[in-house]
Amino acid sequence: MNNILEEKILEVKNLKTYFYTDGGVVKAVDGVNFDLKMGETLGIVGETGSGKSITALTILGLIPIPPGRIESGEIIFEGQDLLKYKISNLKHFRGNKISMIFQDPMTSLNPVFTIGYQIIESILAHQNVTKKQAYAQALELLDMVGISDRKKRMKSYPHEFSGGMRQRAMIAMAIANSPSILIADEPTTALDVTIQAQILELLDTLKKKTNSSVILITHDLGVIAKYAERVMVMYAGKPVEFASVDDIFYKPLHPYTLGLIGSISKLNEEKKERLKPIKGAPPSLIDLPKGCTFASRCKFAVKKCKENFPPAIEEETGHFTACFRAKEFMDGSLSRD
C-alpha cells in the first residue's frame, strides 16, 4: 500500500450540486470533500441516491443545467479549478485527461454507430492523428481490453456485443487517450456476476499499466475491499466517513459504515450470523432533517444528533468521520454492536 505517490491529482472541496424540481430543491450532493492521489484507487460507496454518481458527473461537468445547479465548491485538477471553466471548454478534459465509464453498457453506447467508429471518434477528438493511425490505435485498444477477432469487432454494432463485451468497449474508449483519472461509475452493476470480476480485474490491470488514478463508484463493499486503497462513504449527499480501506473495514467510526458492513454476508465466517439490514429508508433529499441525516436510522443517535449535522473530524491520520460519537468508538467506550 505504500507505493502510492503522495501527490494529489484531484481535490474536491465543499462541492454542492442541487437540482431544482417542481417538488423542491433536491440536494443531491451537499458538501463533498475528498482528494485523489496519483495512482490510487479511491472507492466511493453508498446507497442509490447517496450522491456518489452525481459527484462524479459534476467533476466532468455532465450535470444537466437546468434543473441541476452547482451551488459551490472547487474541483482542483492539475492546479486549476474545473468549475471555473466554461462547459464548452471542459471538452478538452473529458475523455482526455479524465474519462468515465458508466453503469449500463447497454444504453451507454450509441446504437447506430459501430464500436470501431465510437472508439476512433474518442481518439480523433483529442489526438492529432490520421484516421488510419486512429484505426490502428483502436485495434490495439481492443487488444488491451481483451476483445478478440478485432477487425470484425470494429465493424460490429453495440447490440451485437454481450454486456461484458460492451463494457470492455466502453473501457477501450475511456482509456483511448491515456487519461490520468478514470472514473468508473458502478461499472459492473448491470453485468453478470462472473463477468463482474473479469471487468474489475481488467480495470485494475489497466490502471497499474497506465499508472492512472481510479475513482471506483459502487454500492458493493466487497468490490471496495478488493480494489480500493481509500474509501469515501456517502449518505444522503454527504460524505460520512473517509479513510483507508483497512480502517473502514476494521475500525469503522460511523454507524452507517457499521451498518453497511453488517449487511454484507461473510462467507468465510464460522458462525453463521443473521445479516443485519439497516432499518428504515434514506431521507428524502428534498427536505433533509435538521441534524445528522442518518440520525433517524441510527441506534447510537443521541439528542445532539437530531440538532446539528456533525462536522467531519480527522479522528486519526487520514481517517475522517462525521459523527458525534466517533470518539467513543475510538476509545472503546461505545461498543460497535
Binding site: L57, L60, L62, S88, K91, H92, F93, R94, G95, N96, S99, M100, F102, D104, T107, S108, L109, N110, P111, V112, F113, E121, S122, A125, H126, Y157, H159, E160, M170, M173
Partner: protein
C-alpha cells in the same frame, strides 16, 4: 431481410383484396344505372338492356366482382363510363401530375419541418421554440383548402406574384402555392416529431457518453443525436409521401390541379365506378409499397433491426 420483405408483400395482398371488395360493394350500392351514364338521354329501353347485358351489370355483385378480378389480374382497370376511355390511360395522364406535386411538397416539409424541429429542440424554451410550437399547432388546424384560398388571395390576387391555379406550362411557378398548401399540415407534423424525438434522444445515456468523450456540442447534437432522432422522422416522411401521392383531393380541387385526387373526386361525383375503383387501387398500392419501402429504409438506418431481420416494426 429477404423473408421480411416477402412477408410484408404477402401482407399487402389481403389489404388490396379487402379494399377492392369494399369499394365494389359501396359503388354497387349507389342507385345509379351505369348504362344510363354511358348512353345518350334518349336511348331506348332495349338499347339500355342490351348494354347492361353486354357489361354484365345485370348480374349479382359477386359475379361482377369475379369478372373484375380476372380483368384486374391482366393489369386492366376497365373502361370509364363517362369518358369511354380505359381507366389505365386516364390514370397515366393524371398520376404524374400528382406525383410531381407530392415531391415538391415533400421537399418543402422535409427542409422546413426538420429545420424548425431541430432549432426548437436545441433551443428548448427559447423564443424560437415557442414560435415553432405555436405555429405548428396552428398549422395542424388550418383547413388546407382555406389556406389555399388565403395563399391565392395573397400571392395570386393581391401581389400577383404567382399563378392562382392550374398547371399552366408546368413551370415551377405553378407548383409553389399548391405545394405549400399540400405540405402545410405535414410540415407541422415533421417539426413536432423532430422536436420530440430529438429531446427524447438527447436524454439517452449514450449522449452523456458522447459528452464524456469530450466531443463538441455540435458533434454530439448533430451526429450522435440527429442520427438517432432521424429514424422516426424519416419513417413519417416516407409514409407521408405515400399519402400525398395518393391524391390531394382538397388541394387539387382548390388549385384546379389536373391530378389523380381531383380525377377520382370528379369520378365519385359522376358515379364513374371504374375510375373510382381503379384509381383507388393504384393509390392504395402506392401507399402500401411506400410503407414497405420506409420499413426497409428504417432497417438500414437502425442496425438493431437490420440484423434481426425485422420482427416487430409495425409502425
Amino acid at each position: 431481410m429477404f423473408y421480411y420483405i416477402l412477408k410484408r408483400i404477402l401482407q399487402i395482398i389481403p389489404v388490396v383484396i379487402g379494399i377492392t371488395i369494399l369499394l365494389f360493394v359501396l359503388m354497387y350500392v349507389i342507385p345509379e344505372d351505369p348504362a344510363r351514364l354511358i348512353l345518350e338521354k334518349g336511348a331506348t329501353p332495349q338499347a339500355l338492356q342490351n348494354l347492361r347485358e353486354k357489361m354484365g351489370i345485370d348480374k349479382p355483385v359477386y359475379v361482377q366482382y369475379w369478372r373484375y378480378v380476372k380483368q384486374l389480374s391482366k393489369g386492366d382497370l376497365g373502361t370509364s363510363y363517362r369518358y369511354r376511355r380505359s381507366v389505365n390511360s386516364i390514370l397515366a395522364e393524371h398520376y404524374p401530375n400528382s406525383i410531381k406535386l407530392a415531391f415538391v411538397a415533400i421537399i418543402i416539409e422535409t427542409i422546413i419541418g426538420l429545420l424548425a424541429g431541430i432549432i426548437s429542440a436545441v433551443r428548448k424554451y427559447s423564443f424560437l421554440d415557442v414560435l415553432v410550437t405555436v405555429s405548428t399547432t396552428i398549422l395542424v388546424c388550418i383547413p388546407v383548402y382555406w389556406l389555399g384560398m388565403l395563399l391565392q388571395i395573397g400571392f395570386g390576387l393581391k401581389l400577383g406574384w404567382l399563378p392562382m391555379s392550374g398547371m399552366g406550362d408546368g413551370s415551377i411557378r405553378f407548383y409553389i402555392l399548391p405545394a405549400i398548401t399540400l405540405a402545410s399540415v405535414s410540415t407541422a407534423f415533421v417539426a413536432r416529431i423532430t422536436r420530440s424525438t430529438m429531446l427524447d434522444v438527447m436524454s439517452n445515456d449514450y449522449i452523456r457518453t458522447a459528452y464524456a468523450k469530450g466531443l463538441s456540442n455540435n458533434s454530439v447534437i448533430y451526429k450522435h443525436g440527429l442520427k438517432n432522432a432521424l429514424i422516426p422522422v424519416v419513417t413519417y416522411i416516407g409514409i407521408d409521401l405515400g399519402t400525398l401521392m395518393g391524391g390531394a383531393i382538397l388541394t387539387e380541387t382548390i388549385f384546379a390541379w389536373p391530378g389523380v385526387g381531383r380525377t377520382i373526386y370528379l369520378a365519385i361525383l359522376q358515379r364513374d365506378a371504374p375510375v373510382v375503383i381503379g384509381g383507388t387501387i393504384v393509390l392504395v398500392l402506392i401507399f402500401v409499397f411506400m410503407n414497405l419501402f420506409v420499413d426497409i429504409i428504417y432497417a438500414i438506418l437502425d442496425p438493431r433491426i437490420r440484423l434481426e431481420g425485422g420482427g416487430n416494426i409495425n409502425v
